[in-house]
Amino acid sequence: MKVDTTRFGQLDVADDEVIVFPEGLIGFETCTRYAIVDRREDRPVWWLQSLDVPEVAFILTDPASLVPQYRPTIPQADLDELGLGSADEATLHVMLVVPGDPNEITANLLGPLVINPHRRVGKQMILHNSGYSPAHRLVEPAPAGAPRGDAEGGEPRC
């Protein structure tokens, strides 16, 4: 199918490249169909482009490469909903926020996207009581003495 997008112009998306989030993403409930754009297996940062709303796109990453200690527990009910037998079968992505100063890039570890890669269906989880940050900082703050040295413990305000 041909899909117009704000960032990438017209995309030609094959049916088997469509990932469906039946509930949408939180705050984007009407955006249920997505495709991955600019994927590189060796450098896991890519776009998740809405196929429903041209301007909606998110930058995703594979948290394993950036936050190796990140091991969220996905409730079995959610795995069942996605047709997954166990968490090992799931693909886990997290969204990045890239603000005006890209050094302040953060990852939302509290609300990861869990995808069944075979059925191409996914949902955004909320990891209640997990202690994970919705704005986990990925780039070390500038060293002391630099203009921007106010972050404590690497965790920014949200």
């Binding site: 940062v45 969204m95 955004q124 919705p134």
Partner: protein, 74 residues
Amino acid sequence: MLVLDRRVNQSIMIGNIEVVVTEVRGDHVKIGVQAPRCVPVHRKEIYELIRSQNVRAAESQPVDLEQVRGLLQI
């Protein structure tokens, strides 16, 4: 907003979703929700936190991903 008086172990039904007060202690109330799996149930403040992060993510600067990859050293 509709406001209903309920005691512990009493419920209200919202469509086919049951909301039951299970415990009240001072200003602390425990609430049980019986809903079909397709109905997401979240604490509002956490929901709002994730929603605002999603909105910020969607407003990310139109960056070249190579720049992001370089920045993250991956």
